[in-house]
Symmetry: C2
Subunit: 341 residues, 2 copies
Amino acid sequence: MSEATIGDVARRAGVSVTTVSRFLAGQPVRAADTIRTAVQDLAYRPSPVARSLRSGRTRSIALVVPDVTNPYFAAVVKGAEAVARQDEYHLFLSNTDEDVDREAAVLADLIGRVDGAILAPTVESDEAPLRAHQAGLPLVFLDREIGGSALFDAVLVDNAGGSRSAAEHLLDLGHRRFAIVNGTMHSTPGRQRREAFLETLTARGIDPAEIDEEVGDFREQGGYQAVMRLLAREHPPTALFVTNNLMTVGALRALHDLGVRVPEQLSIVGFDDLDLAALLMPPLTVVDRPMEEQGAIAMRLLLRRLRESDDVTPRRIVLETKLLVRGSTARPTAGNRTPLS
Amino acid sequence: MSEATIGDVARRAGVSVTTVSRFLAGQPVRAADTIRTAVQDLAYRPSPVARSLRSGRTRSIALVVPDVTNPYFAAVVKGAEAVARQDEYHLFLSNTDEDVDREAAVLADLIGRVDGAILAPTVESDEAPLRAHQAGLPLVFLDREIGGSALFDAVLVDNAGGSRSAAEHLLDLGHRRFAIVNGTMHSTPGRQRREAFLETLTARGIDPAEIDEEVGDFREQGGYQAVMRLLAREHPPTALFVTNNLMTVGALRALHDLGVRVPEQLSIVGFDDLDLAALLMPPLTVVDRPMEEQGAIAMRLLLRRLRESDDVTPRRIVLETKLLVRGSTARPTAGNRTPLS
DNA sequence: GTGAAAGCGCTAACAC
DNA sequence: GTGTTAGCGCTTTCAC
């Protein structure tokens, strides 16, 4: 029965709708008390939809991520939501499941429904975001970018730095046989984490032939299978870098099923911390980064863009990573260090 | 520049807006081809806001949960979103952080903005949902209820059954000294899990004095502190039941810091499975339940209610739990079985 | 099968 | 400081 409109309030208070509107906007009005009473009596709530139609703004923001079930994105959502709430914005949430078509559909659908969107695009060659942008949807990129996206605000992570620290840590321990489980190679983090890891290794004299690669597509199952393949090889690696949290879980599961002892037989570094990482046996060494904060920053960037004129130069914020050395990395054992001798 | 309106399309196609509207609605129209072209040329998209104002429906649903960062709720969100998408509904997400006031504010804010909401209420004595319902917001309860909520659809879990299975498992192993870490005692799961655990124990002859209780408020930190307090006692328990996932993580952290050996010194059962539960040392015994499915069911219930008339009798669906016995539970050791002798 | 016109609930000129 | 009115973009009578 919440059907009271501004007209009802006006009638009950014996004034015009204009006056009520002005009262609601906080402007000085003679009949303030009367109106206030009428509002309460009728349990009047201004219709957000009508306001939106009038103002052209919805006071809501969409957050488009591959998967909320990924603890990293869950944290991002939380951070973003908290900031939105403060500014009285509402949050739409969409999962793309790393599916480009779904992402495109979602974005198209969002136009006119939200004032802006925060997006973790599936692939760097993605066109959908550009179309959405041209259609008037302000966009901020989260964690990933698309090609030639100098137009957009973005909150990224120093993937290269993170991977480098992982590689150096493993090198310093004395490893010479490496493997990396890659994510989606068409995405920013997938590409950057791989490249930096490989470059660091070869720059320090590692023969590329000593670096095995498998793709795990950023999924737990992918990580599992990648590790299964990796360890089935004749000369398995002694050091493993897994480039996201979900794949790390899968990798650990695989190592567990295989009975591989960590770090005695294999050292492992993950990208992204896990809630239970420190409680695993052994505790997991990971590249960590701010998560809720990344969501919060993305939201702030977007809200600021909505506030200011649209021609503000795009801002790119790159957050630092931090290597958390725990127990899953160690020196290679003698047998492992020279697997061929 | 996505400013084309239905009027622009009509003009370009040389027909009236009515005809365009009918065309868009899929009704037979002579100028179909012309209109189709005009729509494409102008990249016309019907305004969702205008449609909502007209129809009184927004095609969006809100999901109000305590915390998306909780893997259980993240899974629920995913399940609910998938169902909503199929029916072309959009999802609003709000975190309440277990705060009654925030929840009330969120609900009030949602009225008129969504067609319905799925809610995991903070406390059973909550009034806000009733007010929202009276204001015309269809509601489905998720995982938790409020007092006298026979009015509402709900998707619950057999908390009593889950706790009973945990208690019986521990009893069967021979434990006589118990402890339970409770959640928010004013919430449905908090209350039910506690009661069933205690009843099962006492029904099997356990002296209530042999059952320690601490409250952890469903938070990780709460679980940590609860366990710290529990194990500081003179005659610590040999069996521990932790009533949700977050608190279980905290509990494990505490046990780790304390150097308590599981299950030798203490058996532990958690409520809700964790992604890494099976990989912990020892693997964690837990009460598991469907998570994404619970979200999906809640969404289906709500959409069905929106479709059917509002006077359908409320439906309550109770999902079954399943005890996953892994390695964190074992017989009490001799020393522990009779701590006083 | 089609068009004119009213109206969803609100805000903002514009006159007073 | 207040009321009248137009109009945001759409759907839907109601005549034709």
